[in-house]
Amino acid sequence: MLLPLAAVVSKAFGGGADAFWHAVSDRQALAALRLTLILSLVVTAVNAVMGTLIAWVLVRDEFRGKSFVNSLIDLPFALPTIVAGLTLLALYGPRGPAPFNIAYTRIGVATALLFVTLPFVVRAVQPVLLTLDRESEEAAESLGASPWVTFRRVILPSLMPAILSGGALAFARALGEFGSIVLIAGNLPFRTELASVFIYGSIQSDDTQAAAAVSVVLLLLALVVRGLIAALDRWGRRHEG
């Protein structure tokens, strides 16, 4: 596992640090990296809100078919990513029946990323919500807090570590995602090209130096996210006891 990754790093710096910088600061590479970072952040933010909301509905609400909806959440983990991309293309693509077309657009890419990262926040928040101390919510209520204030001041702080760590996992996944966006992105450099697609393209055109350089940037980002997750984990436990 380590050996192949070492090969990537060595290839990236094979031509010296200058070559690495040259490859990374290439306009197309830079655009791909920037778009990857921005879309991953957007997708993570949407996940943080929608994932928490879905987890809330699955834990606190009662309705028919809830257990079916609950198992549906795992679908993106079970479904091959290329199939996920294909389904979105079929419905929301140029020949789909939807009144809009998101194929070959940034919105399309973001949608694909939302599809594959859906379970992370939901599955991180759900167990925390289940074990939450209902008495402290009632305490807040008895002290005069409205439902919204209770959520913001009492519930949300308890959920925050789970939301952030689920969000970090979703972010890491979005950074490197490839399968689901291949079909829907249409590989338009500067417009819809993500880092992973750029790397793939560089490999196909035998520019492994550029591919390796951008890969190293992705690896570094992944490393930072990992550190962040570990730190969040410790932070989340700080008031336990």
């Binding site: 596992m1 050996l3 192949p4 990754l5 090969a7 990537v8 060595s10 290839k11 929608m50 909301l53 879905i54 809330w56 509905v57 699955l58 609400d61 309705f63 909806v69 198992s71 549906l72 679908l75 983990f77 079970a78 479904l79 091959p80 990513t81 290329i82 199939v83 996920a84 294909l86 389904t87 979105l88 293309l89 079929a90 419905l91 929301y92 949608t111 939302l114 599809f115 859906l118 439902p147 890491a172 950074l175 490197g176 995602e177 490839f178 399968g179 291949v182 079909l183 880092a195 992973s196 697609v197 790397i199 793939y200 490999i203 492994t208 390796a212 890969s215 992944a222 490393l223 996210v225």
Partner: protein
């Protein structure tokens, strides 16, 4: 009360637009030209070969990953050794790294111009753009699942039962086989299901090292892409449906196992 209904509508609406409608639509599209057309397109030689190649990859990769996962989990939870924390952190690399980067990494080591390229070529061994490379890629991406699912279960089970078995005269192997393994079996099984789903559905890493030779190095997921690019949408949908059905099975077993685990 109204607030609760609004939240439920937003959550279900989001899931419907993002998951249910697209997946459901592909089910419909597959049979647009009749069941016969769909059947024909998943039984072309290329599709059949892709199907069996995928099964072969899964059949080899999953047992290897499972074995590694259980051993790694025990090594992390039950043994004290230097580098344990580092090993634990490294285990997650495949989760943190883009599949494309994994493919590139394998290419740079085993490829024609890679570190071992010359040596492999001299000995007539072919890894990249061939089955061994695709197997390596599949194993790489699906390696951590079993360990990750087993570790928490192993922690929770604790060592009391194992110590009890030891005081009753069981050797290490007997203890593992008769006490530890039954206790962690649902965790391992859950990991196996996830591993299978991942191995089956892997696209990026395999795509880089396969070379896309139809009828030779094309898995089902690659076949889906190939069909889309050849504008054979019925073929793409049909192959996707096969994968989706397997995913559905996976989903069912995930639910079943989660319930078992909770008991």
């Amino acid at each position: 009360m109204r607030g609760r209904f609004a939240l439920r509508s937003v959550a279900l609406g989001y899931l419907t637009l993002l998951l249910v409608l697209p997946v459901g639509f592909v089910f419909l599209k597959t049979f647009e030209h009749g069941v016969g057309a769909a059947w024909d397109s998943v039984t072309t030689p290329a599709a059949r070969h892709a199907f069996w190649l995928t099964i072969e990859l899964v059949a080899i990769a999953v047992p290897l990953c499972t074995l590694f996962g259980v051993v790694a989990a025990i090594a992390i939870v039950r043994r004290r050794w230097r580098g344990r924390a580092l090993f634990n952190a490294l285990l997650d690399i495949p989760f943190a790294v883009s599949p494309v980067v994994i493919g590139l990494a394998l290419l740079l080591v085993y490829g024609r111009l890679g570190w071992f390229g010359d040596w492999l070529a001299q000995n007539g061994l072919r890894i990249v753009f061939a089955f061994p490379g695709m197997l390596l890629a599949t194993i790489f991406v699906s390696l951590p699942f079993v360990a990750r699912e087993t570790i928490p279960v192993l922690r929770e089970v604790g060592t009391e039962q194992e110590q009890a078995a030891a005081t009753l005269g069981a050797g290490p192997f007997q203890t593992f086989w008769r006490v530890t393994l039954p206790a962690i079996r649902w965790g391992v099984a859950y990991g196996v299901v996830l591993t299978t789903a991942r191995a089956l559905g892997e696209f990026g890493a395999v795509s880089v090292v396969s070379g896309h030779i139809a009828g030779q190095t094309e898995t089902l997921t690659l076949h889906v892409e190939d069909r889309v690019e050849a504008f054979d949408l019925t073929g793409a949908y049909a192959a996707a449906l096969v994968l989706a059905l397997i995913a559905l099975l996976t989903l069912l077993s995930m639910n079943l196992l989660r319930r078992k685990e909770a008991v």
